[in-house]
């Protein structure tokens, strides 16, 4: 903390926050009022009824519970795999020497510039030929694979500042590359790994495109939300409910872990001053 913020700054921050919160508030209001009352805007107060019928109907009509578990499973597994593999890959790229290291790194990082839409069709064919359509692997594999572009980049950048002395001390103490990673590097790079995990979780939780195309039986929440929105009924109340259910978890995750985002850069002390 560097002194108190001036009043005008607080006022501006408040205004910005308000602009962000109003739509969210609107969605909540939409979800608890009948469609008829909110046709001309959720803020209209011509008549005002509170009802949970939209929540009831969405729950009855759409497989929300199933979708919730599907989303949790997909996002959980993808996040876990990314958090497991990214630090190992970043460590290897940064500290170990092997053939084609540079080339491989360039290829992986360059997937960053590749829009998802480009890989959809080839992947679709591949999954169909392999019989993986409607299999969770069909989305988890690209989720994890595509995440490497940014996650390895992020963690490797963090490792730029990692004290080389520590790696050498580990070698002197009898560690091979794997033991060095496990006992010395990994415990000191938890914050970027958490940051990667949070980003990956948010991204996979909200992902729509891949599951919509590759999954049929069990689909995640964003797909259900799209289905709710895709009907031609006047169902703003239902959409609002689905949107709230979908965003609830990412919102909670973000609020709980927001400190990890801020902590990202300050963790490497390494024994130097």
């Amino acid at each position: 903390m560097i002194g108190r913020a001036p009043r005008w700054a607080i006022a501006i921050m408040g205004l910005i926050a308000l602009v962000w919160i109003i739509p969210l508030f609107g969605i909540v209001v939409l979800s608890v009022r009948p469609v008829g009352e909110t046709m001309l805007g959720w803020w209209r107060l011509d008549s005002f009824t509170l009802t949970l019928s939209a929540w009831q109907r969405v729950w009855d009509r759409y497989p929300l519970a199933d979708a919730f578990w599907t989303t949790a499973f997909l996002a959980g597994v993808s996040t876990f795999l990314t958090m497991l593999l990214t630090p190992a890959a970043a460590y290897a790229f940064h500290f170990l020497k092997f053939r084609f290291r540079r080339l491989l790194l360039i290829v992986i990082i360059n997937a960053f510039v590749l829009p998802q839409q480009v890989v959809i069709i080839p992947l679709f064919r591949l999954w169909r030929d392999m019989g993986l359509m409607d299999n969770f692997a069909a989305v988890v594999v690209p989720y994890v694979g595509l995440s490497f572009a940014w996650s390895i980049f992020l963690v490797k950048n963090f490792l730029e500042d990692f004290p080389k002395d520590l790696i050498e001390a580990a070698r002197i103490d009898g560690c091979g590359p794997v033991a060095t990673f496990r006992h010395v590097v990994l415990p000191n790079m938890l914050s970027p790994v958490y940051a990667v995990g949070i980003l990956q979780f948010l991204w996979t939780w909200n992902a729509l495109l891949l599951p919509m195309l590759y999954l049929r039986t069990h689909v995640p929440l964003p797909v259900v939300l799209a289905r709710v929105a895709g009907t031609y009924d006047l169902n703003w109340d239902l959409r609002a409910v689905a949107a709230l259910i979908t965003t609830a978890v990412p919102l909670i995750v973000f609020i709980v872990f927001q400190r990890q985002f801020a902590a990202g850069s300050q963790a490497t002390s390494g024994g130097k001053e």
Binding site: D165, I172, D173, N188, G271
Partner: protein
Amino acid sequence: MSRIDLVDLNKSYGIFEVISGLNLSIEDGSFTVFVGPSGCGKSTLLRMIAGLEPITGGDVRIDGNRVNDASPIERGVAMVFQNYALYPHMTVEQNIGFSLRMAKFGKTEIAERVSEAAKTLQITDLLKRKPAQLSGGQRQRVAIGRAIVRDPQAFLFDEPLSNLDAELRVSMRVEIAKLHNKLGATMIYVTHDQTEAMTLADKIVVMRHGAIEQAGSPAVLYNDPANMFVAGFIGSPRMNFLRASASANGVVLAAGPVLPMPVSDQSDLRVGIRPEHFIVQGESSRFDMHVDVVEYLGGTRYLYGTAPSGEELIVEARDLGSVRAGDSVPVGFQPDQALVFSGTGDRIRTERQ
């Protein structure tokens, strides 16, 4: 305990040769100090012995066995780093015991050895702390503790005290000397510090541009340097080098005095005299020094000034009355304490030397 031999050792980074054709024997149980100007390859050489740096050519032998491709642990060496390199997420206890854990020692044996090492270094009450909660001196002790638990064949130190303040450096230096006496292990020590080198070493190795200029005991390097570089590097303040030329009478200093030494005809000579070898107002070869600055250090004084030839001069004056800046004082030296060098810096020895 072990003897280390470096045979025709080479190291290059690409085309840049850092160590070239270096030969050195380090006796079992000895304390060897590498000194030399920054960038001369001291750390590189130490890291090659440690097994952290691949060897381009030649051999490193420990007890006669070639260990070029062995890992640090197989070589049985332990290293203490300048920046301590303690694992920040481990307590002092875990830091010290880490190498034993990696070597699959039992829990009780690890605990015993760690507490033994901690006792030696007087850090027993710090065992539960993390490195971030330690002072610089305490961290360095932990780093040394990490080296001694393994009971290694040889200890390698790369400027271990250079991050400490002057007072702490002195006391740690004494402790390292004690540790060497106690353990009797081979130690190799890199430093910039004259005093550390002179006080700790059995053998000092003076390096320049990746080669050894001279290796020998501190006394030999001080009294009988092989060339001007070593003469200038060892001793503090630095040896004075005065211009001179050879004549039929001997070596004639530009400053005036003549050394009765038969030196074959060479016009461009240097005569080296240490500040502490001058006798102010003494008897022997004399000339007048113009004093610019007097530095008073309690027990002794240093006079900074110029010789009659205009060359700069540092003279230690222990035992005389008042000398002030601006004075002219006669200074003299014993001819046999003056060393003669050729213009290219090689030592020219007379019969007596």
